[in-house]
Symmetry: C2
Subunit: 350 residues, 2 copies
DNA sequence: ATGAAAGCGCTAACAT
DNA sequence: ATGTTAGCGCTTTCAT
């Protein structure tokens, strides 16, 4: 292939410009060292030849890859949870602006030979280790911190640079940098919004105990209701993050407690509530208000639009990359943890 | 950092096992060359030291990166289009199984300084060139082929290995391998489904002329309707891929032609149709049937569920990686183009 | 401000 | 079946 034969190297450029290889390297990495006229001559040669420094060689020499690893988890179907799309894109843009690229990976497959019995469950740490030891990436962005984050301990112990999207709920003394969104504040926004519109019986449909994020969001509802001197008694339902649980919870609550509004821990649950309302002939936004969490595409396009708490994912990505830059540039990391405040996307469902 | 000091190399392992560096390399890359007992001794040493070959060094030597480049486009809001999530994940898994990783990139930002006037439009080829010249990736997966694919010509000309997800609509003689989903067949599935349920006046809500994919999908409707000897006259609307256009198109068609069913070129449009039905007090699935395209999360969780054409993205990813493997392994590529057949996810909207 | 020498860790080619 | 030699393309160090 022509592109392989011809690929210019430092030496090619040096010959073309009539300087030494080292000077070309300096033109790239420390242009201030060159006399302006030399610099220009080299840059011209670079342009003429279409030269780009070979990444592998540079990586080997500098012991950096300029790659950030991100483990992505299986897409969950039948849920409204398409956070990743927005976050991922912002992350790619932010990393690009910082001179990095994103490398995607997953945990090890449980193996196609299921019968062999050696199908390991997906280890939280799976995949990180190999990339690390082979020096394939310089750092990680760790996103799945909802159950506490076992990766964090592992990575921290090894002195690996990483930034978490999500607080270290289970290890308050963890020392790695993180960025998170204040779910509690988001739900408070939702409660305020509903109370402003005259709702007094505002129900919560959330996740089972044991989820830090779930409890955090729920506390936004409970505390804010109390701030408004409104009762939360028997107005809370907890279950799986599924459409069907949202639906059943709504039916049960409507049967017994007659709430006029629902705040949900996720859009998936909220879509379940909407389903239940439809089944009872109730109009969302007119008869009963519903607010979701995540501002998923489903929330945006469903009928009627679903009011939802929107995480500032773009900003989160930017901050994460900034922290990463501090870490990798051996600069002082300004803050260990940064909490961003979500907004409320108000639509017809409330 | 301890991990940097200690990182074992081939030499470390060789010393530990009492063999030469080359033998360790062979143990890794051509284990069949080693005497079983030597192999075991080396593997033991590798395990003991936690050795992983340095990627940069290997890349430099072999002139491969084992990285596949994928350009991701900005996430479009207010649309149901979250294809990428599913596709991306499958692609990561498939590439991993093939011993590769996915490297994400975007085109160059148009620049934050809008006033300067040097904000370039996003070039279709943007981003590919640099990764290529720096040998950062071995190959690309090209996904955004809907307007014809200018990248394809560019990459093909340079002899770059790549596989497109999407036919080369505009260049039928393009010689690169591609995988696509038969949108036309998907829509035919939808029409059959509706006709089976007794619908005769089935309307089409699609995109403006000039979109190859749009015309392909539309032809599935038009031709299949004719196969069923049903009229398509005045039953077609064309416009932007937005909720609002779907909504307006549905209102207009319902006012004039009284269709009993809608087939849409996308879930976004279908959600618009659902919106219109709601505004007219019509029940989707009872009064009027609606079918979308993409089987987005929104289709899955909205009320009532939206029947939608589902692309076999997982399979597409697998096939793409297989072709990539053929290409990179300098094996014969079985087929230039592979067209997969979608399925229909039937839900309450029909 | 520019050049020469050395070497990052690996594998291909060639010995033995 | 194992060892030796060379070199991938770059940057770091040191000399000029």
């Amino acid at each position: 292939m022509s592109r392989l034969e011809s690929a210019p190297t430092l030496a090619t450029v040096a010959a073309e410009a009539g300087v030494s290889r080292q000077t070309v390297s300096n033109a790239l990495n420390s242009p201030e060292l060159l006399r302006p006229e030399t610099l220009e001559r080299v840059q011209e040669a670079i342009g003429r030849l279409g030269y780009s420094p070979n990444r592998a060689a540079r990586n080997l020499r500098t012991r950096t890859s300029h790659l950030i690893g991100l483990r992505i988890e299986p897409a969950v179907e039948d849920s409204a949870n398409a956070l990743m799309d927005r976050f991922l894109h912002s992350l790619v843009e932010s990393t690009r602006d910082a001179g990095y690229h994103l490398l995607l990976f997953t945990g090890t497959e449980t193996g196609s030979d299921v019968s062999s019995g050696d199908a390991r469950p997906l280890d939280a740490v799976d995949g990180y280790d190999e990339l690390l030891r082979s020096a394939a990436v310089d750092a990680f962005v760790v996103t799945d911190t909802y159950r506490g984050n076992p990766q964090a301990a592992f990575l921290e112990e090894r002195g690996v640079p990483f930034v978490a999207f999500g607080r270290p709920w289970a290890e308050p003394h963890a020392r790695h940098p993180w960025v998170d969104v204040d779910g509690r504040a988001g739900v408070q926004l939702a409660v305020d919004h509903l109370v402003e519109r005259g709702h007094q019986r505002v129900a919560w449909v959330g996740w089972q105990k044991g989820s830090f994020i779930g409890e955090d969001r729920r506390s936004g509802w409970a505390d804010r209701m109390h701030d408004h001197t409104l009762s939360t008694s028997r107005l809370s339902a907890r279950g799986d993050d599924t459409l069907d649980f949202g639906r059943r919870a709504a039916h049960a609550l409507l049967d017994s407690e007659h709430p006029t509004a629902f705040v949900c821990a996720s859009d998936t649950l909220a879509m379940g509530v909407l389903r239940a309302l439809d089944e009872r002939g109730l109009r969302p936004g007119r008869d009963v208000a519903v607010v979701g969490f995540d501002d998923s595409l489903a929330a945006q396009v469903c009928t009627p639009g679903l009011t939802s708490v929107r995480q500032p994912l773009e900003q989160a990505a930017v901050e994460i990359v900034r922290l990463l830059g501090d870490l990798l540039g051996h600069r002082e990391v300004e803050h260990r943890g940064l909490t961003l405040t979500p907004t409320l996307s108000v639509r017809a469902s409330s």
